[in-house]
Amino acid sequence: MIKQEKTIRIGSGAGYSGDRIEPAADLIKEGDLDYIVFECLAERTIALAQLQKMQDPTLGYDPLLEDRMKACLPLCVSNSVKLISNMGAANPAAAAKKTAALAKELGLKKIKIAAVYGDDVISMLNFNTQNFLESGDSLSVLEDEIISANAYLGVEGILMALKEGADVILTGRVADPSLFLAPLVHEFGWSLENYPLLGKGTALGHLMECAGQVCGGYFADGAKKKVSNLGNLGFPIAEILEDGSFYITKLKDAGGMVTTATCKEQLLYEVHNPAEYLTPDVIADFSGVSFQELDKDIVKVTGATGKPLTGKLKVSVGYRDGYMADAQISYGGSYALERSRLAIEIIKERLRTKNLVVEDILFDLIGLNSLFKEATSPAIPQEIRLRVAAKTKTREAAVQLLNEVETLYTNGPAAGGGVSKVVTEIIAIQSILINKSKVAPKVEYFKS
């Protein structure tokens, strides 16, 4: 590749909280990286982390933080790679403190760790005048149930930390592509008003944020779309020039592949209007993006751009929304389908006679109609797993429903087996908008 111009190499170390750690360690070791980014925060994760923080103020960060840091931090130090991640979740300061202590234990001295927060806006909610974007309901309807409200921050907090020379940056809620865009803005000195460049950096971030997915993960169909060595799937590397043109690649020895097809699938993943991909930094426009295979597993990306923002930030509001019961039982062999259907009728009747109130209930025949509506003439299955899922106001009602499935053993159709029962508290998410000017990122530093 062109070596005279300044280039930045960024690796993607995680596509979600529970992602594999080995490919990230390989990238840091062998990827000749400047930065590694771990994207670990799904829509609801921060609400769950908030609940944890309420129980223990030293927690509320990513559950894999310690494992990831133990595997990756020493490699980051020996290879001069800076680490950026939203593993701070609901408690970036605690995550940074924990990381500082770990670094010390690992014999890594003078590591500067930044906690970026300010995304927690729960104290700014105005219950009487704000409405949820999804349901249109006033926030006041759910006031007592709300447990978290986190604004999607852009690059600003991370930029402050980079300017102060942080080696590790742990954030709370930051928009996924902004985790990747921030080091580009910092290194190239891009203006935060140069929207076409911010659009290109956002396209890079969006392609990278799901780690393995652009390298052939979530792609193979077992028949036509073949991916070699998926068992050793590698994570991606992006190399970018100052003008915002970049390519996506992977380590030579890693499994998977980077092709125009894997890039196209990932570019459109979780996108609505491709010409208007909203982030806190820019309205990115992916509609003119094109991909070109320069060599095996090297895909050049051009054509992304962007335009100015709306001045609003999206806020994810987490709230308690009752309970979910999920109980299952299997029927096999002769009349498996008939017995499953009989079981459904029995459950329905028992709920009626018990007066058990559920807000919503779903009967799935797994193998027949659980993912998609039933085919008009389905093949007769050899086995069926009946799944009863219901939403209830109380845990007690959920448990009662589960027991009505379990007792099908001795009180239902013949030869049902393998009952499973799970109750979970539902932490739901809806969104509101907030003025960007109201939200100020804050940075706090810790040293090993």
Partner: protein, 103 residues
Amino acid sequence: MKLKDIAHSRTGDKGDIINISVIAFDEKDYPLLLEQVTSTKVKEFLGGTALGEVTRYELPTLAAMNFVVQKALRGGVTRSLRMDKHGKTLSSILLEMTMDTKH
């Protein structure tokens, strides 16, 4: 011929909305996709599973389309009773759509 013979696909989710990309393996098939895989046909195909409106965005440089489907997840990822709360399996299911190859 089925859609899977000429295109590949991936689903993404946001709240109760999903998007399903449909990407031509070979760009020469893109006009056929544009003609036959309309938002009306996708809505009809997913009907009973996804309940809301379907919007199609076209990306000629990628020989791809992006379908955005409202009310697709029975209330959204965080509170859906669906087995597949994210609707991730729907992309592969859409690929079973039959293509009319009479002309």
